[in-house]
Every structure is written in structure tokens, then in C-alpha cells.
């Protein structure tokens, strides 16, 4: 089982759309896939038309009184399940703080699912917190959407530095340019330069296109309602790169 997390300190950079589309594409490739929507806003859950509620809330999951297995819901797509988001996840930091082995609790909880899934995708809330630290420890690959701007890159470097200082196994970190506006010179320049210079930035980029925003209205992954769109192709390219980077 490979664990892939979409993560960024900032919100609104395309984490959830990437998580939803990559999870869908993984399942389409025949991989048994679970998407865990860790964001209390539960946007990924909404896109799969699942109610954003976990019995017993985040508390039951973190304390282990309810197994992750019991909370999982099937989506409308073969091989793709979701562990829904829940508003109580907003308190997850506090719950993790009280748990044993507090930075590896999520990793422990995912352990029993190894036989059921080939891929788990964690959609993280935007923050620097105990939740994100748990995610960084649980993941084999951290996928970081960044908008082509100098400050975004600085944040990414902070993250790679933080991960590099981990004791024991460290996740692979891969950034990809998200919400790229080809009309903006700065976006073009930064993207082109960094693709040349940085092997930890994916070749695939996700453009800023209206069709991606439609996902929330359609409540479906992009390849479902716009399978031939350029944006769907971009996500496919990104998934192909991610799959090579995190082989099963």
C-alpha cells in the first residue's frame, strides 16, 4: 500500500482537486484506492456526493474506538472508496496531542488497511500542525501543489528541509505547478526555469481553467464529466508521473 498526501500550508492551491482526480485515476488504473478527506471543510467528500459525517467523529477514529474500516464509504466508482471528512476533524490536533506516539498516530491507524488498498490518498487541510506532521510521517510521497511564485517556492523549500530532518524513513516530496496561468509572464518564466533546475518539481502542470472549478458544481472528478478536456489530460500526466515516483 502506497500512501500519497496532497499537502500545502496554503489553502486554495488545488490540493483537493488534485486529490480527487488522482484518486479517481488511480482507481481507473485498477488500483484499489482510498481517499481520506482529512479536511474539516470536507470538499473532497462533497465532490463524491458522500455525506460529511463519521460516526463518533474524529475522536472515535483517533482514539481507535471506531476503526477506519467501519467509516469507509464506497463512491460511485469501482475500486474507489472514501473516508469522509467531518467537521470534528477541526479538533484533530488536540486529539493527536493526547495520543500515544502523537506524530505517527495516523500512520498506525492506516496500517490495518494495507491488505485492502493499493493506494491511499490523504487530502490534508492547509496548515502547519500536528495533523500535517502526522501526514508527513504517514506518507510515502508528499505531493505539493504550488502556484508559480517566488514565495510559494520558498514555502516548498521549507517543507523539504523539514522532512529531510526526520528520523527514520522520510517521504519523497514532489511539487507540481498548479493553477498555472500561461498568460502571466511570471508564471511562464518561473515554471520553465524551475522545470529545468529542480528534479523535485513534476513536469506535468495543472492550468488554471474554469473546467476544474466546475468539479464542485458537477460533484464529480474531472475525467468523469470532461474526459477529453485538456485539464483532464494534465491530471492524467500528473498521475502517470506520480505513479512512476511511488510505484506499488
Amino acid at each position: 500500500m502506497r500512501v500519497i498526501a496532497t499537502y500545502n500550508i496554503k489553502g486554495g492551491v488545488g490540493k483537493t482537486t488534485a486529490a480527487v482526480n488522482l484518486a479517481y485515476l488511480a482507481a481507473q488504473d485498477g488500483l484499489r484506492t482510498l481517499l481520506w478527506d482529512l479536511d474539516p471543510q470536507a470538499a473532497a467528500t462533497y465532490m463524491f456526493r458522500v455525506r460529511p459525517r463519521v460516526k463518533g467523529g474524529g475522536k472515535a477514529l483517533i482514539r481507535g474506538t471506531r476503526s477506519l474500516d467501519e467509516a469507509i464509504k464506497g463512491t460511485d466508482f469501482d475500486q474507489l472508496d472514501i473516508l469522509p471528512g467531518d467537521f470534528t476533524y477541526r479538533n484533530m490536533d488536540l486529539l493527536l496531542d493526547g495520543a500515544k506516539n502523537r506524530v505517527r498516530r495516523l500512520s498506525r491507524l492506516l496500517g490495518p488497511l494495507a491488505a485492502d488498498y493499493d493506494v491511499v490518498i490523504l487530502d490534508c487541510p492547509p496548515s502547519v500542525s500536528l495533523v500535517s506532521e502526522n501526514v508527513l510521517h504517514a506518507a510515502d510521497l508528499i505531493l505539493v501543489p504550488i502556484i508559480p511564485a517566488t514565495l510559494s517556492l520558498r514555502t516548498f523549500d521549507q517543507l523539504t528541509g523539514f522532512v529531510a530532518a526526520f528520523d527514520g524513513p522520510r517521504p519523497d516530496v514532489l511539487a507540481f505547478f498548479s493553477m498555472v496561468d500561461r498568460r502571466k509572464r511570471l508564471h511562464r518564466e518561473i515554471a520553465e526555469r524551475l522545470h529545468r533546475e529542480r528534479p523535485d518539481i513534476a513536469a506535468a502542470t495543472i492550468p488554471a481553467l474554469a473546467v476544474i472549478e466546475r468539479m464542485a458544481a458537477e460533484r464529480a472528478p474531472l475525467p468523469v464529466f470532461a474526459p477529453r478536456s485538456p485539464a483532464a489530460r494534465c491530471y492524467r500526466d500528473l498521475w502517470d508521473e506520480v505513479r512512476k515516483r511511488a510505484p506499488e
Binding site: G30, F48, R49, V50, R51, A71, I72, K73, G74, D76, D78, Q79, D81, R219
Partner: protein
């Protein structure tokens, strides 16, 4: 997992609807629409489905169902779907698989491993084929989320003159949405669908006029204690004739090695039946057919011996110490050539007028109407069973007790043959015995026979290797490394035989122990009681 097989849901709730075609009847749709938004596929998928099993239904008996599911057209898919009683499902691409085929020829993966573990040496053969028209019906909640699925499967038998099959509705649960699936089931029932426990395979078989477990190779004849012994023997021998004939086609087409093995067992049982029980049949029958069945038995021996060599070679090659397994390649090739020759010879015999006359006349003789079977009389079945079992047992005890450490191998071989006769006579009359007492006696005998079998098979195989080596040399087909490797095989067999010989005394002592004899006495006492009661 492709869309092709999504409807094959192990452990799902299934309903049958006698009046449904390939479309959901309006009243069923309306019933479901009271709780869900119902979305039905506009077109049904047409699938070819062929169920596969070994000739002796090993998968069925193990609770496994293997299907070859294919969709038509140039872009059609072909998949293998294996389901078990526990609700587990495995799939694999079927590729260009042709049936019959050994499990080892399936694409590598968990499905092949699971099937091979159960099928063993037996080939997978089609048991029944249908055309399925499958339509998916999605049941959605207020968020337009699919919360349950129903697969409507209209099957039609591909068998000539196949009977109609009632449409099946499979309700499948979406993970985490158990309640909607239960509700869908209730609504189907309200619309007139009946919950069924009959698997789709059984429905398809029944429509094609077949029944599962129609061949087992085991003695399965139901006798009554007081029935005339002659009738019982006819029933026993008729079943063996059925078994013999059932295996002929598999031998002729070389489907797997076990067809010949089972055919030989049917012949041996027939010969033992004639020898031990033949006197209750009209006088000339035994004389007339004993020689014909000996001819048939002898005819099959060379091919079976070669099969045993070929089957035992891979594990033995793995245990070679001095030689390389690759050194055996010329031996393997030689065995293959010999096997082809022997197959042709056997096939000619099985297609001969003599074989047709033997089995045809034998059947006629066994089926002679009761009025033409001569004067009634003779022992009742239970009495015959007790008497012949006791005699066969006494012969084994007598022969075995005379064997000492210095007895020649032939004495153990003779004992094994008498042991087989005892086993057959026990099996023939199994339906008359108390099941636990029967199992205990058979267990005692099996422990002895396994040891004798190891001893004898090693002896025969060792001698065979020596004569094959001589034949290969004469044909200049035996390089020195091959002969050395064959020598090592012969040495392995000699060691194995020595171990069996060393174990014999203890095994026989166990069989002939006072407890063993008491168990046998208890088994035959029942027949004595029937005999006294009928006197």
C-alpha cells in the same frame, strides 16, 4: 476488474423473477422508485458465460465457482472470475484460454494459485454455458449518490433444447450503505421477486439438464440390507461400468491423466467384483467377462506407468544431489515419445469393436430384466457383504502375518493386491455399514495400504527406469549425464522403498491389532444380524 464481471457478486442477495426479460418490469421499477431515484442502463450488456470445473467437480465441492466471462466483438473482453462461499472474488484475464486446460496454464496470479490448489492434476472443463443479458440499475439517494446497485441478469441456456431460466436480480451493497441495499431487497420482494439461495450455476445446469456432482469416481451405490445379493452386485458393477464409460472420452482426448487413472480403477473394481462376488451372478457371466476386463486393465498399464513417471519426475528432479535436473531432459523427451506411442495404441483399443462389444454386452448382461435372471435365492446383500468382507480381511491377515523381514518383495505386492480387494469390497457395501464403524475400518486399512503402495510403486518405478535406460541406450538416446541422473532417481526410489519396507511391520501390526480386528468384527456383525433376521 472490468465492467464485464461486476455483476458476479459472491455473497450478494439474489432474487428471481419468473416474468422478467432483459428489462426491469414496470411494477418493479415503480416499487424501487418509491425510495430511490432509479437509473437503469439503456442497453443491456451481452455476455457469454461458461462455468468451468474439473470432471469430478472439485471446485464445486470446495465451494468455488469459476466462470469464463466474455463480451462479444473485436474489443470484447475475456475474464476469469472465481468466487467462493465467503464472498471473496478473484479475477484474471482469460486471454486466449481454450478448454479443457490445466490450472497451471491459467495466467499467473492469485486466481490461478487458488484454482490449482483445488483442481490438482485435473483439467478444467466447461460444465455449462449461457448467454447473459445484464443491465445495471443504480439506486440513488437525495444527493444523487449511488447507494445500491441491482444487476438484472437474463440468462439463456446455450445447451441444445435448454429450458428457460428465470431472470435474476442481484442486489449489491455499496460499501458503507448497508441499509439502502436491504431496503432495495424488501422493495423487490414487494414487487414479486423471490429471494433465492440457488446459485446461478445450479440454475444454468438445471436448465441444461445437468446436475452438479454427477460424477465423483467414488463408489456411491445405495443398497438395502435385505435386497437379494445378486441385485446388489448388479447395481455395484453397473455403477463401475458407468464410471468406466464416463472416462473414455477424457482418455481418448488426453484431457488429463486422471481420466485414465479413474478408468483403471473402474476396471480393477469390476475385476475384483467379479472375483469376489461373481458367484451370485449367473454362472457364465464371470467367466465370460473376467478375461475381457483383464485385457482392458493390461491395455491401460503402460500408459499409466508412463504418466506416473512423468508426474513424479519434477519433484524427484528437485531432489537430485549429484546430477542437474536439466540432465533429465533427454529422459523426459523419451518418456514423452513413448507416451505418444502408448496413447495411440490405447486409443485404437478403446475405439475397437472388441472394446465396444465388451462394454455393450456387459451392460446388457447387467441389465437383464429380473424375470430372466434365473432362480431367485442366494444371500441377502448384508449377508453377502459381511461374508465377503470377512473373507477378504482374513486373507489380508493371513498373508500379512506370514511376511517377515526376509520375505521377497513379491509377498508385499501380493498383500497389497489382497488389501485392494478388501478395500473395494468395503466400498461396494459402504451404504450398508454404520458410517463411523466403516470410516474407522477404512482408516486402518488405508494406513497399511499407503505403506504397501509406497513400497510397490517405488519398486515398479525403479525397475521401469532401469528398463527405460536400457531401451534409451539401445536407441542411442541416452547421453552419459542422463544415465547418471536416472541412476540417481533409481537410488532415490530405492531409499524410499527401503523406508516403506522398514515401516511395514509397525503398520501391519496396527492393522492386525486386537482393536483393529474388533472394529472389523463390529462392522461385519451387522450383516450377520440381517442374515439371521431374514432366515
Amino acid at each position: 476488474m472490468g465492467d464485464t464481471v461486476r455483476f458476479v457478486e459472491a455473497g450478494a442477495r439474489e432474487y428471481v423473477l419468473a416474468d422478467s426479460g432483459a428489462q426491469l418490469p414496470e411494477r418493479v421499477h415503480d416499487e424501487l422508485a418509491t425510495a430511490f431515484s432509479v437509473e437503469e442502463d439503456r442497453r443491456a450488456s451481452r455476455l457469454g458465460r461458461t462455468w468451468l470445473d474439473t470432471f469430478d467437480w472439485r471446485l464445486y465441492r470446495a465451494g468455488l465457482t469459476l466462470q469464463h466471462v466474455s463480451t462479444p466483438g473485436p474489443r470484447g473482453t475475456r475474464e476469469l472470475v472465481l468466487t467462493d462461499r465467503g464472498g471473496q472474488r478473484l479475477t484474471a484475464p482469460a486471454g486466449l484460454a481454450r478448454w479443457p486446460s490445466l490450472a497451471g496454464a491459467l495466467p499467473p496470479g492469485p486466481l490461478r494459485d487458488r484454482v490449482a490448489a483445488v483442481a490438482g492434476l485435473r483439467a478444467l472443463l466447461p460444465t455449462v454455458s449461457v448467454i447473459s443479458q445484464v443491465r445495471e440499475v443504480r439506486l440513488r439517494n437525495a444527493d444523487d449518490k449511488t447507494v445500491a446497485r441491482i444487476f438484472l441478469d437474463a440468462m439463456s441456456s446455450r445447451a441444445l433444447g435448454g429450458a428457460p431460466i428465470a431472470a435474476r436480480l442481484t442486489v449489491t451493497e455499496v460499501r458503507g450503505y448497508a441499509a439502502p441495499a436491504r431496503r432495495a431487497g424488501r422493495l423487490l420482494a414487494a414487487a414479486g421477486a423471490a429471494l433465492t439461495r440457488q446459485p446461478a450455476l445450479d440454475a444454468a445446469l438445471s436448465a441444461a439438464g445437468r446436475f452438479p456432482l454427477d460424477y465423483t469416481g467414488k463408489v456411491n451405490v445405495a443398497l438395502r440390507p435385505a435386497m437379494p445379493g445378486g441385485e446388489a452386485v448388479r447395481a455395484i458393477l453397473l455403477e463401475q461400468l458407468d464410471n468406466l464409460e464416463a472416462n473414455v472420452d477424457g482418455v481418448l482426448h488426453d484431457m488429463d491423466t486422471e481420466f485414465l487413472h479413474d478408468l483403471r480403477i473402474a476396471v480393477r473394481r469390476t475385476r475384483s467384483g467379479l472375483k469376489l462376488l461373481g458367484e451370485v451372478l449367473p454362472g457364465d457371466l464371470t467367466l465370460r467377462f473376467a478375461s475381457e476386463f483383464r485385457w482392458l486393465g493390461d491395455l491401460t498399464t503402460p500408459l499409466r506407468d508412463l504418466d506416473v513417471h512423468l508426474l513424479s519426475l519434477p519433484p524427484m528432479a528437485g531432489r537430485l544431489v549429484g546430477a542437474d535436473p536439466a540432465d533429465l531432459q533427454p529422459f523426459l523427451a523419451y518418456l514423452g515419445r513413448r507416451r505418444s506411442t502408448e496413447r495411440r495404441r490405447l486409443n485404437r483399443a478403446l475405439r475397437s469393436a472388441r472394446f465396444a462389444a465388451t462394454v455393450g454386452d456387459w451392460r446388457k448382461a447387467l441389465l437383464v430384466p429380473p424375470g430372466n435372471r434365473g432362480a431367485p435365492g442366494g444371500p441377502a446383500a448384508a449377508e453377502l457383504a459381511a461374508d465377503r468382507t470377512r473373507r477378504a480381511h482374513a486373507r489380508v491377515i493371513k498373508l500379512g502375518s506370514a511376511i517377515t523381514g526376509s520375505s521377497p518383495p513379491q509377498s508385499l505386492h501380493t498383500l497389497r493386491k489382497r488389501g485392494k480387494e478388501l478395500r473395494y469390497v468395503l466400498e461396494f457395501f459402504a451404504s450398508l455399514h454404520d458410517p463411523p464403524a466403516y470410516r474407522a475400518v477404512l482408516g486402518d486399512l488405508k494406513r497399511l495400504q499407503d505403506c504397501l503402495g509406497d513400497f510397490q510403486d517405488s519398486q515398479v518405478q525403479r525397475e521401469e527406469i532401469q528398463s527405460l535406460a536400457a531401451a534409451m541406450l539401445a536407441q542411442h538416446a541416452a547421453p552419459a549425464p542422463t544415465l547418471l541422473a536416472m541412476g540417481e532417481l533409481a537410488a532415490q526410489l530405492a531409499v524410499h522403498q527401503g523406508q516403506a519396507r522398514a515401516e511395514f511391520a509397525a503398520r501391519f501390526a496396527g492393522f492386525a491389532s486386537p482393536e483393529g480386528r474388533r472394529r472389523m468384527a463390529a462392522l461385519t456383525a451387522r450383516g450377520d444380524r440381517v442374515s439371521r433376521g431374514s432366515a
